[in-house]
Assembly symmetry: C2
Homo-oligomer: 149 residues x 2
């Protein structure tokens, strides 16, 4: 079974990631940006690339309803820059190999798509390419009952 | 800053992962085992290595207070076998490169250690080596307020 099958039970869900600011109820998305990631750049670079990405993502989130939080280390150090994305009642995704120049807008586009998904999974169709290639892991919602034996 | 610094704010916390069954309140740990992981083994292998690991982990969890749930794909496919571990009010960890023969006991040992941590982080000291080497990512607790700017 291909990853696209496993992560896209809703391939026909709407892929329009644009539109107005999100309703906050039931679909609020939080992006956690790792502010300690260097992404292979020199360790003494200032600002730290992850911190710069956090700031850019905060700016890109203005007016969208997406929450951005800074976090010290997502433990994805060898695959940075890194961010995680969580939706209320939904799955949590970790992304790596993010482009410092483009990832802020990419993350917000992904968050908008995620917020609109009916099933708490980020759709594969319409997902920004960098959030396909850079997918590191996903974890289930808090109340996930588990698959049957 | 080294990863051990970032992930071990409590290096002096108790590293004794043994002891009696865990109290379930406030420190319940859930392990999510990916049942679709092949871990580089043939795709037609039966049982699927991830499913076999899930079953072994369920057996190893008996009487410990640790909950084991099966999940279809943690999207860590290239780094399987895979499992995630979450603690109530704590962080969520994703582990990869798990040894099909040893990982069930390793995951339970890690879960016991995690359950005893006072701060919701899995201690680095005392953590099974496979859960150091195989650390893929971690994500914050649901109510994580974010680091200050």
């Amino acid at each position: 079974m291909a990853l696209t099958d496993l992560t896209s039970p809703n391939p026909d869900s709407p892929a329009d990631a644009g539109g107005a600011a999100l309703a906050r109820a039931e679909c609020a998305v939080t992006i956690f940006v790792c502010i300690t990631c260097h992404g292979g750049r020199p360790l003494d670079l200032v600002p730290v690339p992850g911190a710069a990405l956090a700031e850019a993502t905060e700016r890109a989130a203005a007016g969208t309803g997406v929450t951005v939080r800074r976090v010290r280390c997502l433990a994805n150090c060898n695959r940075g820059l890194s961010a995680a994305m969580r939706r209320e009642g939904g799955w949590t995704y970790v992304f790596g190999y993010l482009d410092p120049a483009a990832a802020a807008e990419t993350l917000i586009d992904g968050a908008k798509l995620f917020a609109q998904a009916p099933d708490g999974l980020m759709p594969w169709r319409g997902r920004p390419e960098a959030l396909k290639r850079g997918l590191i892991a996903r974890t289930p919602p808090f109340d996930f009952p588990g698959e049957p034996e």
